[in-house]
Amino acid sequence: MQCKIPAIGVASSNIVHYATGYVAKYQTGMPIRYVSVPFPFTGQPRMVDVGYVTGKDMLTGQPLMTAVVNALTSPLTAEEKVSGAPSEESVEPRLLPPDSEDNLRQLFEAKEWTDFNSIILPTERRVTEMLKGTSHKPDEVIKTINITGGARPLTVEKVAISAVMAGASPEHFPVILALATQAPFGNSTSSMANMVVISGPIRNKLKFNCGTNAMGPYNRANAVVGRAFAMMSKTAGDLRNNVNAWETLGNTMQYNSQTYGENEEALPDGWDPLHVEMGFKPTDNVVSVGTGWSSIASVGASQSIYPTHYLMRDYMSSFCASGSAATVVIDPTVAGLLKDTHGFKTKAQLSEWFSQNIQKTAGSYWGNGVIQSTAVPFALAGLEPYASWKKLPDDALIKPFTNPKAIHVVVAGGKVQTMWFVTDFGIRRGVLIDDWA
């Protein structure tokens, strides 16, 4: 639908560059006129935002309102009248021109196709070898990546290139292809990251680490599969720093997206593996991807003077609870404690307890930027409980984790210490790896 009236955008200086460049090229096709305020706009005292109106337009240096009037009234340029198919075509050759290894490495870095650790250069022979790890055709499109525009078709062959670059082997390829259905990784100014959990017998077959150092740099399968996710996210998403990747701090967890296997063999009786809780069979091989920002460790072993789940609850109350999402990663010894000492017979019971017992003030809840972006529209639309929470005084306590099914519990680790991580990662439904063999 088009309104066919002049419209202008108002954005801070960092956004305008992206909006008038990448977004215009790949998404809107419109050279939209902008006026620009200083960055940051959000999170400022009221008087600062109001003051921007009588301040300068960051693009032209004119008074901002003069720039607004000009943007709405000045005649269109020839460029602003262009319509129809783009005059140029975006082309990427299948093979790059022959060059020396050093030059190619420099090219890959200049194009930001790497994570800036050393890569295996994707020769055709290596990619062909990688493709032997699946029955799927190289030109099969897994999904179209359009997160920042461009509608790029991510094919099996392109994923194989990323897998080679990351140092993976053909036996890892079905896992990486399943992971590709969830690409690209989180890309947000809020600096999010991902968590990748491997479930099922394939953990042992491919030697994923589920035990000691499951989340550390001590295992090839964990390392290369997680790294391949970063590679394909960057290449297929065309993610480039300050072009269309705007994570203000970035997140070190993006290097391998916290890839690890659940220690299913060490689960207490009655505690199902993550993928079984999702409805898969125990014999299915599944990769599950979560998105979030934060992880808080127990910083030491569990103590009998304060139940472990109480401390988890306390720490989790600092999370924003966006989508009611959380994932708790616990050592098998902690799982044993929670079951045998504290009576949680299933993971679901523990999730339910968190949902009922984690509290935070309404002020703290609404004071989060992501909640402002995602939950305020619900509140304004009258959707409960957000509408009621919005009316509460700042010091009123609310239970923000309203959906216990969005709180996942994953058991991993080597039974070396009764420690755990609580995280705000929201895990999506898993993907069957066997479909990609």
Partner: protein
């Protein structure tokens, strides 16, 4: 000139420098290399990880207004990290417009689905309100 480069220009493989004639024969042509590509004078060919992006079809801008005098301006609050900041901003804009342009009317509306949504109801509302222009923001 580098001896290897000179030999290349003469069509002679630098492998002769190693003193193994058999090796010199094979490197005249492109041959598979140990790293899985093919090489000629240390050159290799690799596959391109990048995917061509589809460029958007160009859409022209709507004709501008001749003046803001007496016009109705629809201000879309994208609710970027919440609606408050843009509401204050648009309030100050409205004050400024009231002072400088007689008869200007403004409507401020918060998108129903936040900064990431498209909220088609806003477009319908803009049309229904017979707005003359729109300001969309504030991002950042």
């Amino acid at each position: 000139m580098d001896r290897r480069k000179m030999l290349k220009y003469l069509g002679i493989s630098p492998a002769v420098l190693t003193g193994f004639p058999a090796g010199a024969e094979t490197t005249r042509a492109r041959v598979p290399s140990a790293n899985g590509g093919s090489h000629e004078e240390g050159m290799i060919t690799v596959m391109n990880p990048a995917i061509a992006g589809k460029l958007a079809a160009r859409v022209p801008l709507a004709p501008p207004l001749d003046s803001l005098q007496g016009k109705k301006i629809y201000m879309v609050n994208l609710s970027w990290e919440g609606p408050d900041a843009a509401n204050y901003f648009y309030g100050a804009m409205t004050e400024w417009l009231d002072k400088h342009y007689s008869g200007v009317k403004t409507i401020v509306k918060v998108t129903a689905d936040g900064m990431f949504g498209s909220d088609p109801s806003i477009l319908k509302d803009i049309t229904a309100s017979k707005a003359d222009a729109a300001i969309v923001g504030v991002a950042g």
